[in-house]
């Protein structure tokens, strides 16, 4: 896409400042309405019955007693959700994940649902539903699921990406291979080769707001859904498809969203709420409990990864390979593929090969989690990079710089990088004061890098100018982290007006054209692009109107600093017309003044980050505390620096939680043992230090302002940075994430044991 790049590097009036967000007051006063904050007349309360078994055949569901309970208005099972997907595998997987069809595939899989007049009645009704299960063998570990003796979860899964195609079904949905060059020759040329294996456990996005919606289906086939989602348009399309509704007749309104991080990109229980509403012919409110959120929605993959890196004595990497096994829960995923595409992206490695396996297990269907798949691959690569640096006797940062990807380097997924920021980020690392902070006993420092693609996609905005000259910008990308401020700033910048004169809101699906889900750090990138074009579209209308008002030819009008002016000496006595003045006369100069844009915002700039982490390890308990932490990331262009920093800090905090303590713990019985915030330990305020940030701006040439997505890349480095810091503090390398006290103490013990063995021998 050819863009006008003249704005890159221009002097901005509004962009780069720190304005108050438009939804700020609502959110600090409790007025903002989230998923669970809407009500409708006559609404019912929905509750979902979930399988307590990891894998079981559902022989019978007897709902008769529940149906007879006073106050129960609808009970549904999969029979109420006939398969209308026409064999579209992706859609049938979603349907089956929403409610089990003959088989419960994981602990927490929905089996039936009720709608009743109140919560008490709904709970009571669930207890009256009798499900007869026949237990089936289950598997929850990614490596075990790949073994030939493992129970095969789906008989229709034949590993894709294999030549020849396998003749027997297995739990391996796909094999993906990426890379370039000749790795065998590369390894042959290496002076040092390091091979290591790593494991990472499953984590959850952990948004504080549970999934919640209010569904209302009318007998005439029209329907409304108020829901906390990252993608109201995608929710609309999927729900309409699963329920057989017309897309235009299902209006989805995205509520304020209490965090998503990828977990609210997919439908979970929303189709159930709609089906219940249809059956009861009343509005139905469905709010998940925290336990349901953990057991049945969007965790990320757990992994098992082998990495091999070869280098010359001078530090040049000659070859590298990754073999990565990602479990995607009970349905096929694309997670191994994403691991292949990101693992080595920070480095210019001429001979590289990455193989990813997508594995099915009896766990909930994996959803995207902030730079999905990249943190695990990066943990393996960044840990091994430090080991190789040690083997060749180089400083770990210098070793990375020696091999760093630059403009012209080939990405693991094929293309050649344009201008990118990882080299600058590593140079900033070297300069950063944290690198000189003194480390005491049991303290250590680690550095790691991270990459994420970012995406663009279908986008559509409306910009409407009121008669007082204030501006409404309607966007279709949900604002998860403060994007409304940035988009308002962009519109103000283009129009040349004050930020206070622009109000941005997120439109419902009936009021705006399709917008892709807010994922892949695309919100500000793509809606920002559309906002620029919509503003320019409006400016053309403003110029038309000004020409009329001044009675000059259209092409004599120019737009500068929020004003129309007729250029040329013959017009020098004419006044300038402000946007406000033109807007006031709109009714008599041709009607409403608006700007629109529909765009496929391709050309998202890739994002890179480098982090510095200082830790202290208690050698007697294995406890690791983060002492200091710095994030350096390329933002292309920071529209609102506060919220860019906020993305960096939030992503780093999630990565730290993942690295140290967060994990799904499954029992032998295949049940999740810690579905709550007490034992699924996300970092609390006292666990973290201030997180220092440094925003780099290497403009993305494919965006008019040079914007890159900033939301995801900084969750990628923390796992490796922490591992490297622990190794620096203790001399012991961790191979299993999270690096919890039990695992660290165990590793310290093993190291001591092998050392004493060596000295004894």
């Amino acid at each position: 896409m050819a863009h006008d790049n003249s704005y890159t590097g221009q002097k901005f009036q509004v962009i780069g400042n720190r304005f108050a967000r438009p939804d700020g007051v609502d959110k600090v006063t409790g007025r903002a309405r989230y998923g669970a904050d809407a009500n409708a007349p006559g609404q019912l309360v929905a509750r979902v019955l979930r399988s307590p078994h990891a894998h079981a055949r559902i022989k019978k569901i007897d709902t008769s007693k529940a149906e007879k309970l006073s106050g129960v208005k609808a009970v549904i099972t999969s029979d109420d959700l006939p398969d209308l997907t026409g064999g579209n595998r992706g859609m049938t997987d979603i349907l089956e994940n929403c409610m089990a069809r003959g088989r419960a595939l994981y602990d927490g899989h929905a089996v039936a649902a009720v709608a009743a007049i109140d919560e008490q009645t709904a709970r009571k009704a669930l207890k009256l539903i009798k499900v007869t299960y026949q237990m089936l063998p289950h598997v929850t570990d990614v490596d075990e699921a790949m073994q030939p003796e493992a129970p095969v979860i789906h008989d229709w899964v034949f590993t894709g990406g294999m030549e020849p195609k396998p003749t027997k079904p297995s739990n391996v949905a796909n094999r993906t291979e990426m890379g370039h060059g000749d790795v065998d020759a590369g390894f042959a040329a290496a002076d040092v080769i390091v091979e290591r294996s790593y494991k990472t456990e499953q984590t959850h996005q952990g948004y504080i707001e549970p999934h919640a919606c209010l569904a209302s289906v009318n007998p005439d086939g029209s329907a409304e859904l108020w829901v906390t989602t990252q993608g109201p348009f995608s929710y609309r399309n999927v729900c309409a498809g699963l329920l057989g509704l017309d897309i235009a007749k299902l209006k989805v309104t995205a509520s304020e969203i209490g965090g998503g991080f990828g977990g609210k990109t997919h439908v979970w229980a929303e189709p159930l709420a709609l089906a219940l509403s249809r059956k009861a012919n009343r509005p139905v409110k469905l709010v998940m409990t925290r336990e349901e959120v953990f057991r049945a929605t969007g965790p990320t993959a757990s992994t098992s990864i082998d990495v091999k890196i070869g280098a010359k004595k001078n530090g040049e990497i000659t070859a590298a390979t990754l073999d990565m096994r990602y479990q995607g829960g009970a349905f096929p995923g694309i997670w191994g593929m994403l691991g292949c595409m990101t693992g080595f992206a920070c480095y210019d490695i001429k001979n590289q090969r990455s193989v990813g396996w997508d594995v099915i297990v009896n766990r909930p269907k994996v959803a995207a989690y902030r730079a999905p798949s990249a943190p695990m691959a990066a943990f393996a690569v960044e840990s091994t990079m430090d080991i190789v640096a040690g083997e060749v006797g180089m400083d770990a940062v210098d070793f990375r710089l020696k091999n760093v990807a630059r403009e012209g380097s080939q990405a693991p997924y094929g293309p050649i990088f344009g201008p990118i920021g990882i080299e600058s980020a590593l140079q900033e690392v070297k300069k950063h004061p944290q690198m000189k902070a003194r480390l005491k006993k049991n303290q250590g420092r680690g550095v790691a890098c991270g990459f994420w693609f970012n995406i663009g996609g279908q986008t559509c905005v409306d910009l409407n100018i009121g008669e007082d000259g204030t501006v409404n910008l309607a966007v279709g990308t949900v604002d998860v982290g403060g994007a409304r401020s940035s988009l308002g700033m962009i519109a103000a910048e283009e129009l040349g007006i004050s930020y206070d004169d622009v109000k941005v809101h997120v439109a419902d699906t009936a009021s705006l054209g399709h917008n892709d889900t807010t994922e892949g750090s695309r919100g500000t990138f793509s809606s920002g692009m559309a906002a620029i074009f919509a503003a320019r579209d409006a400016i053309e209308v403003l110029k038309d109107r000004a020409a009329q008002m001044l009675d000059v030819p259209r092409d004599a009008i120019v737009w500068e600093k929020g004003e129309a002016r007729a250029k040329g000496t013959q017009y020098s006595n004419l006044p300038k017309l402000s946007l406000r003045e033109i807007a006031a006369k709109a009714a008599r100069t041709g009607g409403p003044i608006a700007g629109h844009n529909e765009v496929t915002a391709d050309g998202a700039g890739v994002a890179f980050a480098a982090h510095i982490c200082d830790v202290e390890v208690d050698p007697e308990t294995g406890l690791t505390r983060v002492l200091r932490y710095t994030v350096i990331q390329d933002a292309g262009k920071a529209i609102h620096p506060d919220y860019v920093e906020g993305q960096f800090q939030g992503a780093a905090a999630q990565g730290i939680g993942w690295g140290l303590n967060e994990e799904y713990v499954y029992g032998e019985d295949g049940r999740l043992q810690n579905p709550g915030f007490l034992d699924y330990r996300i970092p609390v305020c006292s666990d973290l230090p201030f997180i220092d940030t440094k925003i780099l701006e290497v403009p993305n040439p494919n965006h008019p302002y040079g914007i890159r997505g900033v939301g995801e890349a900084s969750i990628v480095p923390p796992l490796g940075a922490i591992g490297n810091a622990i190794a620096n503090a203790t001399g012991v390398r961790m191979h299993h994430v999270p690096m919890s006290p039990v695992r660290v103490l165990d590793a310290l013990d093993q190291a001591e044991a092998s050392e004493s063995q060596v000295s004894a021998g």
Partner: protein, 286 residues
Amino acid sequence: MRYESPASTKEAVALLAQEKGSAFVLAGGTDLLVRMKAELIEPDLVVDIKRIPAMTDIRVTEKGFRIGAAVSAAQLGRHKALCKAWPGVVEAANLIGSDQIQGRCTVVGNLCNASPAADSVPALVAAGAKAVIVGRNGRRTVPVEKVITGPGRTSLEKGEVIEALTLPKPASRTGDAYLRFTPRTEMDIAVVGVGISLALERGTVKKARVCLGAVAPTPILVPAAARALIGSKLDDVALARLATACSAACNPIDDKRGTAAYRIRVAGVLARRAATIAFQRAGGKA
């Protein structure tokens, strides 16, 4: 479910004794309401004891302290005399949950919930706390370590409630401490907890009580650990013997919060650290 908030202990006892269905005492509610939410219990009667005057205050008595059963951990933390006399007990109580939980949770509730990992219990046991139990047949006083009989089980009989806990007036040169291990700094359940109180005479440990939490089905008083300290000036040898005794006394399980081996190991480590703090608080010099 029926909710009652009687004004006297006697009334509370009568309500609990007469209830034919399942009856529960509501003090802070920080465990009870969680269990109700999870549908682990469905009470027919809940008796709120927070409007019973005898249960809602901390009294300084001739013998020491009397802590009402409905006194929140936050109240304990604000009681200067108690903080001075039994800092270990107060710091243990103040480790339970967040400030929000502190505003509600009680040490008696912590005790009656009978979790092996209860934070306040090892400190109370080490301090020699006693429970004042009231039932239809009158009141009895039992050492705190006799209250918990197993995970989630107590020696209270139907209709009995704990009205208060008593703590002795500490002898001079007494110090106590509680340490727990958790992966997070706050908002966590103890993987191991150690409560120690000791009394010195001329710089030497004269008396000691050591109680471990989260390493057995109930918090356990470890006499061998106390013996390791008595007669010592808390030198490295004594501390090593303490650690060994504590680790030896553990009978833990592997669970989602930690492995048995880890608990055994860390029990010794924490015991050493807690003993050092208690020793300093008692005025001892290493």
